[in-house]
Amino acid sequence: MSTATAFFQQQDFITAAYVVAFGMFIVGLAKLTSPTTAVQGNKIAAVGMLIAVLATLLNPGLDGADFLLIAVGLTIGTIIGVPSARNVKMTAMPQMVALFNGVGGGAVALIAFAEFRHDPAELSADLAIGIPLVLAAIIGSISFWGSNIAFAKLQGLISGSPVKIPSGLLVNIALMLVAVGAGIAILLGSESQGLFVLILLAAAILGNLAVLPIGGADMPVVISTLNAFTGLSAAAAGIALNNYALIVAGMIVGASGTILTDQMAKAMNRSIGSVLLGGFGGEAPAVEGAGGETGGTVRSTSAADVAIQLAYARQVVVVPGYGMAVAQAQHAVREMAKVLEKKGIEVKYAIHPVAGRMPGHMNVLLAEADVPYDQLKEMDDINQEFGRTDVSLVIGANDVTNPDARMKADSPIYGMPILNVDESASVIVLKRSMASGFAGIENPLFFNEKTQMLFGDAKSSVGEITSELGQL
């Protein structure tokens, strides 16, 4: 009896630690929503996680062999996780998040499978365990494979353009039915391992096929959706394992991830539904523009000429895009801005909500180059300023400046809020070549008579402009 008492006390102690841990998650998350407290918030959440893990290790059911496995697992995970997090380039952040998210989903699916193998009969005997476990397996597997595809697309391992799958929607529905059907069979009492593997497999194929048809430009929304999915699958696993820390943390991520996805989709003027049903940029991109009126002439210019225009401007707005980040030109841009400011020219940065590859990605990249926070203007604020801007300097940005989004109803990006750079007195576009943007759509801005193109690597182009400025 006394051992039983000790056991439950210990169980209570573990649960109490969980309560502390998820309290810290909530506080941490709340602090993550403001720039001044965010670093602290992240640390608080991390300490909460440490407490939760340590408390779980007090579980008296763990024996020496278990501890050995756990030590091996934690060590290998750390050895892989730390360097990836330390060394990843800020430009590669979206795919890093995708990868971290994917392994989380994979863990949930594996845990669900192991729980099923432990006691297959339990799933049908207690539906309060069975249903969440089946759900965890399905969602976890979708999240793992979907995230991997998102990673591969962003990393350039596979083509970022949408892959059309014949009657994709029907196939996906069929796969979902297979996964759910196998799950129901297990809940009705089947103890076949093959059926559980079928759940994981059908969900895996579904995860692949669901993300493949989605174009690279929509990938942030996909990653955010899968992030919410992994949270939900963790919460489901938490219900099955009766683990409060898992339920709370998983569900908070599920809920906040959904909101975040919605906000991102709104910023891109896309509904989550249309993104997930695929087809962005799938409808014959680029070709339509080439035949239309937009196929005018492009005027190219030189760094010296750009420097003169900038030197006589009162206000210059820099519109940075992913191309700037790829060229690692943010430091060069910052240097150029310093020179301009010394000449008394006002420099502002126009940050589109989805500049870079994810909302907020560009802010991270510019922060890395020490650009003062107050010069970064959000879209709604800066759009009122283009009218009194002398020169807009578009550096490696494309789709977010495409006026087709305002004017051309049949454009795939029609309706997406854009930066109205074409309202400024003149526009200079720094671009490697005339290739279309991530969404694969032609940009009539480049053919606008106000626009001049400065071709070449963004970093060296900006460097040349800066040195020309120095000679003026």
């Binding site: 169980q11 929503t33 992240n42 697992g73 594996l110 009766n242 683990n243 809920a255 907020g360």
Partner: protein, 118 residues
């Protein structure tokens, strides 16, 4: 183990395990919605990364399940799950910290024109 807990709670007249879990689930959902509802675009990327790290909590599932795992395959599956979960947690928090500390490094955002030259 779960059955024992359920029985004891039921004997004491408390709600069943699943109802307690569902109550917690619903409340957590509202907390999640509430906390995130007003975030500047600026912080979306770190926030996504931060919430991503938090769902690395799944590693607990692996730690709990391994106590009752039997057989080589189950233990192998859970070992991989723990590795995956650890990558998610450790990598997630670290990378978020890296991103956020760049924001923090900023001195008082004084007008840039008055910044001392370097």
């Amino acid at each position: 183990m779960d059955l024992t807990t359920t029985t004891i709670l039921a004997a004491e007249g408390g709600p069943s395990t699943i109802l307690t879990s569902l109550a917690i689930l619903i409340l957590a959902a509202f907390v999640g919605f509430q906390v995130i509802s007003k975030v500047p675009n600026t912080l979306h990327t770190p926030l996504m990364s931060g919430t991503n790290a938090i769902h690395g909590i799944v590693v607990l599932g692996g730690l709990v399940a391994i106590a009752q795992a039997d057989g080589f395959l189950s233990r192998l599956l859970l070992l991989i799950a723990i590795i995956f979960g650890t990558i998610n947690v450790v990598g997630g928090f670290l990378v978020t910290d890296r991103m956020l500390s760049m924001f923090k490094r900023k001195p008082d955002p004084a007008p840039a024109a008055e910044e001392p030259e370097s």
